[in-house]
Subunit: 580 residues, 2 copies
Amino acid sequence: MKASQFFISTLKEAPADAEIVSHQLMTRAGMIKKLGAGVYTYMPMGLRVIRKVEAIVREEMNRAGAVEVTMPVVQPAELWQETGRFDKMGPELLRIKDRHDRDFIIQPTSEEVVTDIARQELRSYKQLPKNFYQVQTKFRDERRPRFGLMRGREFIMKDAYSFDRSPEAAKASYQGMAQAYRRIFDRFGLRYRAVAADSGAIGGDLSEEFQVIAATGEDAIVYNPSSDYAANIEKAEAAAPTQPRPAASQALTRTPTPGKSTCEDVAALLNIPLATTVKSLVLATDTQDEQGEVVKTQVWLLLLRGDHDMNEVKVGKLPGLAGFRFATPAEIEAAFGAKPGYLGPVGLQAPVKVVADRDVAVMADWVCGANEVDVHLTGVNWGRDLPEPDLIADLRNVVAGDRAPDGPGELAIERGIEIGHVFYLGTKYSLPMNATFLDEDGKPKPFEMGCYGIGITRLPAAAIEQNHDERGMIWPDAIAPFTVVICPIGMDRSDAVKQAAEALHDELAGAGVDVLLDDRGERPGAMFADWELIGVPHRVVISDRGLKEGQLEYQHRRDAEAQKVPAQGIGDWLKAKLGV
Amino acid sequence: MKASQFFISTLKEAPADAEIVSHQLMTRAGMIKKLGAGVYTYMPMGLRVIRKVEAIVREEMNRAGAVEVTMPVVQPAELWQETGRFDKMGPELLRIKDRHDRDFIIQPTSEEVVTDIARQELRSYKQLPKNFYQVQTKFRDERRPRFGLMRGREFIMKDAYSFDRSPEAAKASYQGMAQAYRRIFDRFGLRYRAVAADSGAIGGDLSEEFQVIAATGEDAIVYNPSSDYAANIEKAEAAAPTQPRPAASQALTRTPTPGKSTCEDVAALLNIPLATTVKSLVLATDTQDEQGEVVKTQVWLLLLRGDHDMNEVKVGKLPGLAGFRFATPAEIEAAFGAKPGYLGPVGLQAPVKVVADRDVAVMADWVCGANEVDVHLTGVNWGRDLPEPDLIADLRNVVAGDRAPDGPGELAIERGIEIGHVFYLGTKYSLPMNATFLDEDGKPKPFEMGCYGIGITRLPAAAIEQNHDERGMIWPDAIAPFTVVICPIGMDRSDAVKQAAEALHDELAGAGVDVLLDDRGERPGAMFADWELIGVPHRVVISDRGLKEGQLEYQHRRDAEAQKVPAQGIGDWLKAKLGV
């Protein structure tokens, strides 16, 4: 393609609301154009990347045996009422009324619609397994859309849904999709990790996120450099301590700590390691009667080491703690007779239940609040100063350097951007929607389902977060807007340059290379700046001076400098480099 | 592809709500699945057709120099308020409020958004002409969605918008698009006509519809078989009569016509040709003051030959008749002293203005109502019995056999389905949105625009309306869900059949032919019925008996019978037939 037939529009400055580099660079490179909060037009340069992402996803989904459909963007509310999601979902579900005042929604995903299709179309076990997917516009009315395509309201998602006759078959379908996702992400040419994720109410281990590694990622990814283990921070298990609890060596002491209400402040004041302090978190759980009235409230005290953070997902799975909330100041005052910042487990009266993190349970001579403002206790010891905890469990986020839970090695943590998710659903949708098939025994059974998403329009943003420098983006070949850009110098003045540029363009295009000839007539500095910003991986510069020497200049976007390449045979040289 | 890796779901019966053949057949063939009124899932078989339509459209739009973008489905109301369409458009514009109670719409088209992009991006005449297009989901909240994909609420449309610096340049862009549309429609392999259409408030001749010819079409297409002239019925001009008005030969006579209130009934009663009667239509136009109060109402009497119908578009363009309405019964009673069915122009008092169709103006000895119930006048003559009309004009729809307005020949009429529309917009959107560029003289000027639509999801329905028989659909090669289907008989019992089928499949697929091997193991009758319903154009049957004779059976979907073809070289024979 020639630039004169395309649309190139670059900006020197990023818009003020672009907080992250991918948003800044995509806007500056003319890839996206904001229409409203979280709503973007995909401009020609950006759409090329999106189309390449879609093509790779489609090829691998088809290869994996999934069949493409397209479900409506605007969906009647009835199906969403069958699963209860019409009411249960928050305001991120965009609800509409049509001219006849009937309720509709704009699809954020399509579990209900695809399950409705399955219950009509898949009548026999002989038709299973079946996997339907679509690449379709989605809308989620985020409270605070931002970061460009990273957290938009309207976006394109590939969503797939598998239907199977048994949990075992569904798990095989799930594994097939997880494999297809690895092929897809390998083809994108990005560094990524497939990490175990929490599967929420469904349970089991069948949920994996595909995270593109980037320092700016929102998610913390935990992995064991010595093994394949990887999990997101919500899911990653803190290995149980192996050392026994040391014997007590200090006396229990009331220590004034005026104004020091955090573990960090107390450790600094007393000049002790933060890991010798214990933080107290107070939760509450409510028991409701059939009318939804709260008839009983249980207060819980969670103890974590001062240098550790609570993991809400893990805590929510402990017996009795499903649906927990943080206790109110009044509840804390009533239970502890003290204010947050000076709480602790010593001298507690019932009915507070004490849950200790596994690392806290093996501590001796520790420090915690004295349930008295401006006072802490030091030299605290289990058994001697307070009863053993009601429950010992893994309550915390892992930290770098923790012993790996899967064997030898220490955990490392890096940041990632979630781009894909595979999920075993079981009968979560098929049961409430009464979506059944006739099994071999002639009896109706609910489908065992899985769902599988890829954020098509988020992927380019993640790729940029991972691959950029101070001059702009750096695309992997597979999803670059163009693979090769030819930059002729003085094409309007030199027939030799014009002919060489057009000959190379035609040769590469004829070989199926996605090549752009920049025939805009921009000066070299502006032209190079544009292509460094846009991040086309391979650049060839053709100049009169070079041609006289029989040389062209080639530079990969990651190279510090251009290299001279013989003009003769440059087409073959490039094709060999690109593997075409 | 093999059927076992695809999804095939056919029905014997069409749903009760499917009124037209394309809706019936697409549903029976498992191409679409209704989710709600006017909202359909595109199932795998249907999506293949849609994707082929999209691919042809994209190729030709790119070839014509248009550049693809994707504008959001959900659009903020602000831009729509700039042009006034947010308020002016009726309930077919789906309006939404987001979680912050801000107004949005779902795009029915994207003139506002693309004009907003142009006013930001196209700053200089040097950047013009430019044409942006998209293939994107649209929504129009039709009062009565029906006919499957023919009149759905959610649909896919290709919409393109051109930006130029002058009307002349815009017209050149328009002509370029009209040419591209001809290439697109030629490639679809359908019979179609490009017909002149009314360009409404913009004026001029720069509006053409692309109509797929089908007996079931909603639109009447007028054409001259002796020339290139074609127009839709709204636009087609009735040639002015060439014969002079004959002299009066009958006396004016009051004739009782009890209960005969239509021209047809009167002509039958009096045993005279319908073309000697004149029908009276009473219209009204209101003059409003600045507050929108009606300060004056003018009543109009339109006279048409009894065998002619009024053309509302033509009437609306006459001086004084813009925005006309039909008169109320009270207004008619007041002006004529009689009821509809017995009205006429004789003996009228002011202030009724009389407008005669050109064909009525040259009639003598005609018949019309007497402004008295159950009475008509015969032998009516202009000049003698009533004054000449205030205005003589083309008021009517043409009819088959009318003299062509463009030269020799008689007009013919056939039915069509509108699939594409090219339209010169002028400054209709750029002026209210203040969308300007800097022209060569350094002054800002509004863009001259054009818009160009193709109904992507409507096209398959139109193709079926044109091409079907009692057994099902008949697809042109270019947009068939599969080009070739291989039907093996007893593939599970015969290795020879299996090998021959798979070898042919692999050979054709390797040559880029879109081929499906039906390995479902259906019995021949059911298998053939499926593929005749689905309408794949080329079918090859492979059986043991045939193989023993060295023969396969080939049948085009339009052929009455299969022909025997040597098994040896069948791949080359087919490829030659398909031109690959």
